[in-house]
């Protein structure tokens, strides 16, 4: 099993690309100059994803006789076929729950502020990209959950590129294999990856943690079901905050599993091991220049 996992990680599709870029001292700058982006939510609730067994999209995952998107660390990149349920010659859903699915809670008083600059074009050993991010929301008991980022930006990725830590106007997830294939293929107006911290009622619970945020086209459907590729709504936006139950493993250009200390208890008594939070009452601003 451990050997199989190592093989899957070694086969991450962008591994060679990351190797070619990760030590570049002065990575090229963004063509046309830097882009500054601000995204805010100043009121209203948020959608908090609960563990669920993601339905599997043939466009992304292929079929049992012709599987796609199987390599890389399971869950944060690909999904190995043994982790998939199948009927006849099509996949149905994941065998185990993940942060990506149709179940959610609504929590109150969601606030979020992202200031990002995309200056560096590609992965490298250094970056001129910048991120200031904070987000918070409250549960029914009045506890406040908060995330802050980024003490350090992911100047290069592990199993897939991070474009200096901030990328703008790029397609991600799904068939791209940039990020988990469990999210649909989606256009991201801005996305970032960095190391930050998780708080509850002002107390730091977990630090450092990998924080990923992105403003994308709308990828939920009726009943808030996570869309397949052919169900995405290109004309509306949502912001996703993801703190995965994984930590980067830089020496191996990979990830290792590590639940997030969220401080939020699920109805079954377990602590929610990730944060996957959607903000949809947004104001956005973007311009060329810093």
């Amino acid at each position: 099993m451990a050997k199989q996992l190592q093989k899957l990680k070694a086969l991450a599709p962008a591994r060679g690309y990351v190797i070619a870029h990760k030590d570049v001292k002065n990575p090229p700058k963004l063509f046309g100059g830097p882009i500054s982006v601000t995204v805010t939510q100043s009121s209203g609730g948020v959608f908090v994803a609960l563990p669920d067994r993601r339905r599997l999209d043939t466009y992304v995952f292929g079929t049992p006789s012709m599987p796609r998107a199987f390599a890389g660390t399971p869950g944060i990149n690909g999904v190995p076929p043994p982790a998939r349920e199948a009927e006849d010659d099509h996949y149905t859903r994941m065998k185990k729950p993940s942060p990506f699915g149709d179940k959610y809670l609504v929590m109150a008083d969601g606030r979020m502020e992202l200031h990002a600059v995309d200056a560096t074009a590609v992965d490298g050993a250094t970056t001129e990209d910048q991120v200031r991010f904070k987000a918070s929301w409250k549960d029914k008991q009045g506890n406040t959950y908060e995330v802050r980022c980024c003490g350090m930006l992911a100047s290069h990725g592990m199993e897939f590129p991070t474009f200096g830590g901030v990328v703008t106007n790029h397609i991600l997830h799904g068939v791209t294999r940039l990020g988990t294939a469990l999210m649909p293929t989606e256009f991201a107006y801005v996305a970032f990856w960095g190391m930050g911290e998780v708080r509850k009622n002002g107390k730091v619970l977990d630090k450092p943690r990998l924080i990923h945020g992105m403003l994308t086209e709308y990828v939920r459907g009726e009943g808030y079901k996570l869309a397949f590729d052919d169900e995405v709504t290109p004309t509306r936006m949502q912001f996703h905050l993801m703190i995965p139950p994984f930590m980067p493993d830089p020496p191996n250009l990979s990830f290792t599993e590590k639940p997030v200390k969220t401080g939020f208890t699920l109805p079954n008594g377990m602590e929610l091991p990730f944060w996957h939070v959607m903000f949809e009452n947004l104001e956005t601003k973007a311009e060329r220049g810093q």
Binding site: V106, A108, R236, N281
Partner: protein, 137 residues
Amino acid sequence: MMTFRITLLSGLFTLSVLSAACSSAQTPPKAPPAPDAVVGMTNTLRFEPDTVRVPVGGTVEWRNTSLLVHTVTGDPARATLEGSARLPEGAEPFDSGNLEPEAVFRHTFTVPGVYGYFCIPHEGAKMKGVVIVSPKQ
């Protein structure tokens, strides 16, 4: 055609101020007329009920009973998906703007016909409703 947008809290505040002012003037406060239909807006991204019927000249009241910000938008020009909004011929578009949790929006329908409306931030999640306005008998 009339549109009102208030929050419950500011509404209560206004009523208490009016009440104080009016009691000194010996004039009883005038309560707003009861709406002909009431629609809730939920955390499950639904207008409940999703279809209501009112007579021409009738008023519908939408109450944001969720923790989310919603809109009530009966304006085809603001829709980005086919079927999100439609108006009878001669009817004016309407839009509540952002309704915070507990906020209330009222709209009076003066043109008979079928109105389709939606919530702007949750249009992709198909949060939409219908008002059927009956002509005078």
